[in-house]
Amino acid sequence: MGVLSNVPFPRQSPQTLADDGDSLRFCSTCAFSQACMDEGMDKGALMDLHVLVEHIGPFHAGDHLFREGEPFEAIAAVRAGTVKTYVVDRDGHEHVLGFHLPGEVIGLNAIDGETYPCNAVALDTVMLCRFSFPKIAVLATRLPGLQRQLFRLLSRDIGRAALLAGDWSADQRMAAFLVGLSRRLAARGFSATRFQLTMARTDIANYLRLAPETVSRVLRRFQEEGRLVVDRRELELLDTAALEALAAPVLRA
């Protein structure tokens, strides 16, 4: 983490794959490994506490990881791929809640209830790391660092959802979306400037509350202005500074 990488998401670098964890070591993308390690807990220690961490997958594009209303018992962290979470309203319209990248956790909004309040679907080939929420919650009471990490993830999840509630222009929304993706991917060891948009245009549009044609129009203009290049799903940010400036009011940083 923190090392500048040239590997465009979702391609895995050989190091990442080699560092994919086993019965004793955490995966490099694990959302909790740092918090646990800081507490002096390695994977063996967690196992001694019967906190089972289970690798599941691969899931393929279109596979559901969970559906709204199913009983909630586990939180999952994305190890590879992209997961979309969404709800369907009474009129049958889909509302995209978010896109979850490697190292990010899905199912946090289920903590409040007994069932999942949304659907989660794989957008490409997805691998997950699943762990029991009750057990990690108990563990968190003993490990302050882990508790902090859990709260951090929760507040990040809430914050991200609130971002798009403001009265922002299409350009600002799109820039914030791209800059946000870039930062999140860079934090997980992927290239900050080259990545694939694994979600469909309609999903981006739905998430940003724009028309699909507007998504394309804004991107085409960004491209003409030399801020980025789009080739099918591949995206390269050329003028990150300009996009950051546009996104600043939305991201507040």
Partner: protein, 466 residues
């Protein structure tokens, strides 16, 4: 490419004259398989709509009918003079358009529409206009100046008045088959057409505001002589078409039945073939045409030549084009589509195509999805055919590969070609030299993963390089 120059070296061409694909696609059509059908086409079309900026569309309409058989033809066509067959064909074509158009989001603009054949002008100008109007009502046609509406025309069956009607229907590019004006050759290939009728329709295109006119010639035809072909070249350059294509006749009578009517003894020998090609290059170059690549020449102010100069030239089933990165939708019997990372093809025989449409099915009978290796090689061959270079450093970056390691086998195959001076291997790119420009497909063949696979079909599948 290192320059617009093209070096003619008979010894070299003789040595490299062997069968090979023309690379209007990579992988080539023999790799298509029955596992790719209508369901798969729907899936790739839907995925292509999901691109953040979905590609614009190029449409191709195949008209399979010809009123008269040319003996050299290797195309998929049906000989008939029964115009009712055109009507029946259009009824199915409209069904296919209605089934296909909804696969693509409405905001995806059509930037190119091309009619090929067969003989598209087997249909009347009124029928052709009806096809264009039907397509316009189902697809969103771009209003941009660069939108091309092009058609292949047989000068024997089209009049200057027809050209005016086609212009009114929106056509702005035409391609005329000439092959050779030499009367003896015309008899030998069963295609008699006068200089006057050809000139009249070329002039009519100009008069009606067509943006460009292409003339097709063929060398290697029966009874062809240097003197006769030289006269043809002078007449053609005198007509000043914007583009000229000079194809080598491929005599494969086992594969293309009409060619059985050509007397083998009438064919020019290998030396004459080369001399005819040399003649074409010399005369066209002297008349101011630039060599674009493969069989194509264009005037320096033509869009193809301009696009090549700025690195914006592309190649698809319709040949060279200035339209980058569009998804290609083929309509009609035997038509090929290229949507997203897939190729797909309609049945090559009329009854199967009709049956599918009569049952309300998308008439796809085979195709393939390109994996990452296919996409990389397709990109490489495209750059080679269009820009005359392989940008190794750029490809390494784009595909995350170590070029030398990934293409070790290909580079070993390329070595003798480099020693013959066809390509120059530099630090970050491989450049085609003026000696290599005529042998682009031999260079591309080094990078074709499928050529190493055993051929199960004993018949020759590809024409020769020269």
């Amino acid at each position: 490419m290192e320059s617009q120059a093209i070096a003619f070296n008979a010894e070299l061409l003789r040595r490299y004259d062997r069968p090979g694909p023309r690379y209007t696609s990579y992988p080539t059509a023999p790799q298509f398989h029955a596992g790719f059908g209508a369901r798969e086409l729907r899936a790739v079309a839907s995925a292509s709509n999901g691109d953040p900026i979905p590609r614009r569309l190029s449409l191709y309409v195949h008209v399979p009918f010809c009123a008269s058989p040319c003996f050299y033809c290797g195309c998929n066509r049906i000989i008939t003079r029964d115009t009712a067959r055109g009507e029946a064909y259009l009824a199915r074509l409209y069904r296919e358009i209605a089934l296909t158009a909804p696969l693509f989001d409405r905001d995806r603009e059509v930037i190119q529409l091309h009619f090929g054949g067969g003989t598209p002008n087997f249909l009347s100008p009124a029928q052709l206009r009806e096809v264009v109007d039907t397509l316009r009502s189902h697809f969103h046609f771009s209003d941009a100046d660069e939108r091309d509406l092009s058609i292949e025309l047989d000068p024997r069956f089209v009049s200057p008045a027809d050209i005016a009607e086609l212009a009114a229907a929106g056509f702005n590019r035409a391609s005329f088959g000439v092959q050779d004006f030499d009367p003896e050759v015309q008899v030998a290939v069963n295609r008699i057409q006068s200089v006057e009728e050809t000139r009249a329709v070329v002039d009519a295109c100009r008069g009606n505001g067509f943006r460009s006119v292409n003339i097709d010639l063929i060398y290697g035809l029966p009874k062809q002589t240097r003197e006769g072909f030289a006269r043809t070249l002078d007449i053609v350059t005198g007509m000043r078409p914007d583009r000229v294509a000079v194809y080598g006749y491929a005599h494969l009578p086992e594969l293309f039945k009409p060619q059985k009517q050509i007397v083998g003894a009438d064919l020019p020998d290998a030396e004459t073939r080369l001399a005819l090609l040399q003649l074409a290059i010399e005369r066209l170059t002297a008349a101011g045409y630039c060599y674009i690549g493969m069989d194509h020449f264009a005037l320096p102010d033509d869009e193809l030549a301009l696009a090549q100069a700025r690195g914006g030239l592309h190649r698809n089933f319709m040949g060279y084009t200035t339209h980058a990165d569009s998804d290609l939708v083929g309509l009609g019997v035997s038509a090929i589509s290229h949507v997203g990372d897939s190729f797909s093809q309609n049945p090559r025989d009329l009854p199967s195509w009709q049956a599918a449409l009569d049952e309300g099915r998308l008439p796809v009978f085979r195709g393939m999805r390109l994996d990452e290796d296919d996409q990389l090689r397709a990109d490489l061959i495209q750059q080679l055919m269009c820009q005359g270079e392989i940008p190794m450093a750029a490809l390494e970056r784009r595909y995350g590969i170590d070029f030398a390691a990934y293409f070790a086998d290909a580079l070993a195959k390329l070595q003798p070609l480099a020693e013959d001076g066809l390509v120059r291997i530099e630090a970050d790119r491989i450049t085609v030299t003026s000696r290599g420009r005529m042998l682009l497909r031999n260079i591309a063949m080094c990078f074709d993963r499928y050529l190493d696979q055993p051929v199960t079909d004993a018949r020759p599948r590809f024409s020769r390089a020269i």
